[in-house]
């Protein structure tokens, strides 16, 4: 009898062990998100309804898209600080191009995506061919893009966004089974996340981004086209910034300071989602939840009545903490 109980208990231990190894594999961002989101929901009953959750997810979608783009660049060992002002540029520029004419919505979006490609190309080419650190290149691009936007609009963009332009940011798909209303912004985010998932985790593009971020020299010696991959990562990041800008503009309307600090929010969200600063590690689903976590955290700070500076300070802590983590873990290895 004793043997059977022992066998039983050892089997139980085995099962527990496998469960534990599974649990250990779960990235920390998921439990953290659930914890914060539950707290927010507890403090604010609005979040207890499906509608409230959708509002939250729609609000978080642009940040999630930005964070995915940022993650592509971070994983390759770079930084894209020009995202925020590119968002401003797209919003201000779209208002100029649209000029209150709904007919021009389509062409405006196409032109702005083109601008994204150009900005990404300049970033990427300067980084990979002229070998300038990406921090500096994209910091310069931040000023350049913002300056051009301000110059173009004279600092005060005119008009309003037409409804067919705003629909991406604030529209809903009505009568969806189960959900009822489903935000278009969330749908766009999900589509982009799926596309990015395939690019990053299932294609040679993503594998080679990680290879470069992990060890450029080894990648080059193994035939990886380092420059091309780097340029493409910057282009993808800029393109996603344009998409995020269209969603943000649709949701919040025209303003010349929407983009301010978004690049840092994107870095923070990516880092919370387990992306390694200086490259080598990243995951699309985790980064999406990183963005959700950050958004929930901002809501929480709001609910607690803490003013905006706290939001900045928290982001600062997250980024410094992440860099310190990388530095410590690499030093341990030496």
């Amino acid at each position: 009898m004793t043997t059977t109980t022992m066998a039983k208990s050892s089997r139980a231990v085995k099962v527990l062990n496998t469960i534990w190894t599974w649990i250990k594999k779960i990235p920390p961002v998921y439990p953290i998100f659930i914890l914060i989101f539950l707290t927010v929901g507890f403090l604010n009953p609005n979040y207890q309804t499906a509608n409230g959750i959708f509002v939250f997810l729609r609000r978080a979608s642009p940040l999630a898209i930005l964070a995915i783009g940022q993650m592509f660049v971070l994983s390759s060992g770079g930084f894209d600080l020009s995202m925020g002002s590119l968002v401003t540029f797209v919003i201000v520029g779209s208002s100029m191009l649209l000029n209150n004419d709904p007919e021009k919505a389509m062409i405006t979006i196409v032109i702005m995506l083109g601008v994204g490609v150009i900005v990404g190309l300049i970033n990427g080419v300067t980084v990979s061919f002229l070998k300038v650190p990406s921090l500096i290149v994209t910091l310069g691009m931040l000023l350049l893009v913002k300056g051009v936007a301000m110059f173009w609009s004279g600092g005060a963009p005119r008009g309003y966004f037409t409804d067919n332009f705003r629909i991406f940011g604030r529209g809903n798909i009505e009568n969806v089974p189960i959900f009822g209303k489903f935000p278009i912004a969330l749908l766009i985010m999900i589509v982009i996340a799926l596309l990015s998932y395939y690019l990053f985790h299932k294609s040679n593009f993503g594998k080679q981004i990680l290879a470069i971020g992990d060890n450029v020299r080894a990648s080059q010696l193994s035939g990886v086209r380092v420059r091309v991959i780097r340029v493409l990562a910057f282009v993808y990041s800029a393109l996603l910034a344009v998409v995020a800008a269209i969603l943000l503009g649709g949701y919040g309307g025209i303003s010349t300071n929407v983009g301010d600090g978004l690049e840092m929010q994107a870095v923070s969200a990516a880092v919370v989602g387990g992306t390694l600063l200086l490259g080598g590690k990243g995951s699309v689903p985790s980064v999406v939840f990183g963005a959700f976590t950050l958004e929930a955290l901002f809501n929480l700070l709001n609910l607690l009545g803490l003013p905006k500076p706290y939001k900045d300070a928290v982001q600062g802590l997250i980024i410094i903490g992440a860099v310190a983590y990388v530095a410590l873990s690499t030093r341990k290895k030496r």
Binding site: Q208, L210, R217, L221, G223, V224, R225
Partner: protein, 528 residues
């Protein structure tokens, strides 16, 4: 020549007191005994060369004397007094200076500023530039280099030899009694070497003790009064330069027991057609390289540090391409300007520094194994044709081929042992179907058992008709593995030796004895 005989010839001059003396120095690094009970005397007005193979302990000894390392046991005596340096600065202040192979000059500062860096003469709290330049000029005059180098010249405008003179001037300005130079002639042209020699004799007459490490025996005989040979951290002996010849020194440098057995060498019928032919190729480092590599053979590339072994591999693989000459791969003339081109022509390169150049430490075994295959495929193609799943199926086969035992291919390679890391690095070239393999130091830093299995793997490759070019600084490995041996010296191929040549044959060529080259070859031919 046996070791006992060598040891009895150690000179014991007792008359004058040595300027610098080391007694029973022992230094251990993790896994190696770098210096084992070494005692040496350095006299005033004497040029003392310390020679030995790679890893003989020369540099460690120099660094201990200059205060960069601290010995585990033993003592250093400066002019008869016991000293202990805990920092290079202390050694410097007491009159022991060292000039490394890599100079420590600030490129954007003038010669004078570099010589008196950190101790500039000042007036009213600001640097007195006029006094600074004057002082520097005096030092340069002492060296007889005042006409060659101006104190106000920027260091980045100087040639290598001139920069070296500035380093020497810096040492003189400290009033150094002992000057240690690490491979001072490595980057110099013949004319520059003469200038340096003249300078050294000048310093000799000043009563300094000069110590230098060199791989170049020809130059050692030109300049040194005494030659000390180290081997595997032990003192073999010290000889007066005029009493010995190069052959004797080389014999003192080599010879050891093999620590494991090598797989049998290839047989004549195993060797196929020439797959890689290099005709008169040169770049800024390499001169007139000619070589042929055949299917199924291991071509060993020997040579001392700085002889151009790694540079040869990098040139062949397009990392640092050849500027002139032609290369034929599998019978077709090809230009290889980048690693990706070399890979396209089915070459594979196992780098010397596996952590820095061979692996993606944070990526799983799987992605490391497939890195090369993926870089040969299109960037986006796999989304649609499911290639990534196809390539993943290769992983277990590859692991079996290189004998990496793990059931978890998601493990990051940084957590693997050195031997397994090397095997993973190798597997990515098996995956890409390379048929010309370049191995640069294939067994550096891995344990004996893993070494043997890497050697077996290399032989296994040649049995499949793969051509292997193997670079190694370990002579037993070169001799144990190679079907032919090319010896490099000074950026060119000094000569070719047949399989099973002796370590002395290799060392003679590797230390620049071109004159003996022919007789050596004939000897070997006679033996065959």
């Amino acid at each position: 020549m046996t070791e006992e005989q060598n040891k009895t010839t150690v000179l014991r001059k007792t008359q004058p007191e040595p300027l610098l003396e080391v007694r029973n120095i022992t230094k251990r690094f993790p896994g190696v005994l770098a210096l084992d009970d070494v005692s040496l005397k350095f006299m005033q007005g004497e040029v003392h060369a310390v020679v030995g193979e790679n890893g003989a302990g020369k540099s460690t000894l120099m660094k201990i004397m200059a205060g960069a390392y601290i010995a585990d046991s033993g003592e250093i005596l400066l002019q008869g007094k016991k000293v202990s340096f805990s920092h290079p600065q202390e050694a410097h202040e007491q009159g022991v200076s060292i000039i490394y192979q890599e100079f420590n000059l600030l490129p954007e500062r003038t010669v004078a500023q570099n010589i008196y860096l950190g101790r500039e003469p000042s007036k009213f709290g600001v640097i007195d530039i006029r006094a600074l330049n004057k002082k520097a000029l005096t030092v340069l005059k002492e060296l007889g280099a005042d006409e060659m180098i101006s104190p106000t010249a920027l260091c980045n405008t100087l040639s290598v030899a001139e920069q070296q003179i500035v380093e020497i001037a810096k040492a003189i300005s400290f009033d150094s009694k002992v000057l240690i130079m690490d491979e001072p002639t490595a980057a110099l042209t013949l004319v520059e070497v003469r200038i340096l020699n003249a300078l050294v004799s000048r310093l000799k007459t000043r009563g300094m003790a000069l110590i230098f490490i060199s791989h170049r025996l020809v130059e050692v005989f030109d300049i040194a009064d005494k030659i000390t040979v180290l081997k595997d951290g032990q003192l073999v002996g010290t000889e007066l330069a005029k009493d010995v010849n190069a052959e004797k020194i080389v014999h003192m440098m080599v010879g050891r027991i093999l620590d494991h057995y090598f797989p049998p060498l290839g047989k004549k019928e195993d060797f196929g057609e020439v797959v890689l032919r290099v005709n008169n190729c040169s770049n800024h480092f390499l001169k007139n390289i000619n070589l042929e590599l055949r299917k199924g053979e291991v071509l060993g590339i020997a040579g001392l540090q700085g002889s151009g072994r790694t540079e040869l591999a990098q040139a062949l693989f397009g990392v640092m391409p050849f500027k002139t000459g032609t290369m034929e791969i599998n019978g077709k003339t090809r230009t290889v300007k980048a690693p990706s081109t070399a890979i396209k022509y089915s070459m594979g390169f196992m780098t010397e520094d596996r952590k820095a150049e061979g692996l993606l430490p944070k990526q799983p075994i799987r992605d490391n194994m497939l890195l090369t295959v993926r870089s040969m495929q299109s960037i986006l193609g796999n989304i649609f044709n499911d290639g990534i799943r196809k390539s993943r199926k290769m992983v277990p086969t590859l692991a079996k081929q290189v004998d990496v035992r793990t059931d978890n291919y998601d493990r990051e390679v940084q957590f693997l042992s050195g031997g397994n890391q090397q095997k993973v690095a190798l597997s990515k070239w098996l995956a890409s179907n390379a048929d010309i393999f370049i191995f640069d130091e294939p067994t550096r830093g891995i344990d004996v058992e893993a070494k043997a299995s890497i050697h077996d793997l290399i032989r296994g490759l040649t049995k499949k008709g793969i051509a292997v070019l193997m670079i190694s600084s370990e002579l037993p490995e070169i001799i144990g593995m190679s079907d032919r041996i090319l010896v490099m010296w000074d950026g060119s191929i000094a000569g070719e030796l047949p399989a099973k040549s002796t370590e002395s044959d290799v060392m003679l060529l590797a230390t620049g004895h071109e004159t003996n080259n022919h007789s050596n070859k004939n000897d070997e031919a006679g033996k065959e």
